[in-house]
Amino acid sequence: MSSPMIELKGVGFTYAADNNSVLQTLSMQVDRNSVTAILGPNGVGKTTLLHLLLGWIKPETGTILLGGKSLPSYTRREMGMLVGLVPQYEHISFEYSLLEYVLLGRTPHLKPLQTPGKEDYEIAMHALDIVGLKDIAEKPVTHLSGGEKQLVLTARSVAQNPRVILMDEPMSNLDLANKVKLLSVVNELKEKGATILFTSHEPEIAASIADKVVLMGEGNYLKSGAVDEVLTSASLSRVYGIPVKVAEFEGSRILLWRK
């Protein structure tokens, strides 16, 4: 059996400002070429977990292994080729066209003084095609709706072509049709060999696409495993603190809850 793509061993993290421990001794593994959904209430540390995996923040305790090697052993450029981030929102000050914006994803593949070439343009255009925005490639990215911006951020990660893609609530602004579109993009990326982790507030979406679910509760994660094992009425009720019932409807999992 191949080694896991990502391995966390006893990882803990505290934000200095409020001295509140967000994560305590978190241990988990993520298989290569898999889709993992990270669920949990607001403020439980989902985004913090993604930032730890990105190397943006460093764990206070424990270690994070990527492809069997610890994160600090990679150079910045190697990390750029290995791990990509699709943030939930990005502040954009200048009127880049969609194509220019997606092209920025090619940066880790360029030497420090190099600029993108013809092949990079083709890759960026293909990435826009995948998310369905090729026809408006020259439109300023600042003119897009929140949902379209999320698709552009995903396209930039597709152009970056890293081994691991971290997506922070990638569907929070998407309408139903675009959610389905993004799910198919995630599937396509997985088929091409990527390992994907995404955070979400929608267990149904997690159930529809993830190979594995990590359910995080206060201070620590509660459960991690296959969808059937983790997304149960009992565990969701406990984590969210409200009565939740998981039901099956025509083969899909749906959630029922009471106020």
């Binding site: 930032h51 990105l54 190397g55 943006w56 910045r76 450029r77 190697e78 990390m79 750029g80 080729m81 791990v83 990509g84 981030l85 943030p87 990005e90 502040h91 954009i92 000050s93 200048f94 009127e95 880049y96 066209s97 220019e100 920025l104 994803g105 940066t107 880790p108 360029l110 420090p112 003084l113 190099q114 600029t115 993108p116 070439g117 013809k118 343009y121 020259e138 600042t142 970056q160 971290l166």
Partner: protein
């Protein structure tokens, strides 16, 4: 390269042609032998014309060219790095810091160009560092608001410092020298002054040119730039130090020349689009043209010189007001 890039490259090439034409026009424009454009063949037959063009106008014109290129590329660097189209080195204590350093040097150290330049550079970097440090400690507002506020405060501190130095300066020698600083101008540029700024200016422009793609990435949020394989903190410092060193060098011989760094990058982004692969060299070339035109106007419009800083402020502020009214400049954070 796709067809759009070829179009943008052509635009830059055309701008370089215009820059070259303006450069040579500037060399032969003046008041000798009569007001207007001198016949170029005169430099071979008239020793005074030869000396005028090669010993006075050439170093001055080259300095005006570098001044425009450095201030506008510095402005572009600051705008991209701080993700804000409304900043330039002058907004963050760099120009006023340089002026203070130069005035301090004139009164207490030496009037040697090298020492003035060194003192200006150190004070300019201190101005930037102070603005940055204070902005990090302000407890309200978004990052850019905090940065602009602390920049205004630091600039005001340095201005007050320059005021004190002026008050204590010798009115016959030091005071006019400091006053020149505050107005900005190139009337005392000779080969000696030009050669002191040339190495730093050229090295800075080359570094900025070759690193220009990364400037795009640094305009994104920090964690995004990080996820794309950059070390945002380290690379920002490389850009800031490069742009500030060149700005301090040029300001040490020209005095304070405002607005160039703010408006030229805006115009460059309109003509060459946002991507810094094109907008940064575009900004350098347009800045060069602007520097040359302002210097020509400042030395030829009246019989006496109009200080260059006054000219760029008039033109720059006017163009800026037009830009603000014609199109929305987005500032989100």
């Amino acid at each position: 390269m796709d067809s759009r890039n070829i179009k943008d490259s052509h635009k830059i090439l055309l701008s370089v042609c215009i820059l070259t034409a303006v450069f040579f026009f500037s060399l032969f424009l003046g008041r000798y032998p009569r007001p207007g454009v001198m016949n170029p063949s005169l430099i071979f037959s008239d020793p005074l014309a030869h000396s005028l063009v090669f010993n006075l106008r050439l170093p001055r014109t080259l300095t005006a060219l570098f001044l425009g290129m450095i201030l506008s590329s510095g402005g572009m660097v600051f705008q991209m790095i701080f993700s804000n189209p409304l900043v330039e080195p002058g907004f963050l204590g760099v120009s006023q810091g340089a002026a203070f350093g130069a005035a301090f040097s004139i009164i207490f150290l030496s009037s040697s160009v090298w020492i003035i330049q060194g003192a200006a550079a150190i004070a300019a970097v201190s101005g930037l560092f102070l603005s940055y440090t204070i902005a990090r400690r302000i407890r309200f507002g978004g990052w850019v608001l905090r940065l602009v506020l602390s920049g205004i405060a630091v600039s005001a501190l340095f201005s007050a410092g320059v005021g004190i130095l002026k008050y204590t300066a010798d009115p016959m020698g030091e005071l006019p020298e400091i006053t020149f600083w505050m107005l900005g101008g190139l009337w005392n540029i000779t080969w000696r002054e030009f050669l002191t700024i040339f190495p730093v200016s050229l090295i800075s422009l080359v570094i900025l040119f070759f690193m220009r793609w990364r400037l795009n990435v640094l305009s994104l949020d920090d964690e995004t730039a990080f996820s794309l394989g950059l070390a945002p903190g380290r690379e920002r410092i490389i850009f800031l130090v490069t742009a500030t060193a060149a700005t301090a060098a040029i300001v040490s011989v020209s005095g304070i020349v405002s607005w160039v760094g703010l408006i030229i990058p805006h115009i460059a982004r309109r003509i060459f689009k946002t991507d810094t692969r094109f907008s940064l060299p575009g900004s350098m070339v347009l800045g060069g043209i602007f520097g040359l035109i302002c210097d020509m106007a400042s030395r030829t419009l009246l019989t006496g010189e109009i200080p260059l800083g006054i000219f760029t402020s008039f033109l720059g502020a006017g163009i800026f007001i037009l830009l603000l009214m014609s199109r929305n400049i987005k500032v989100e954070k």
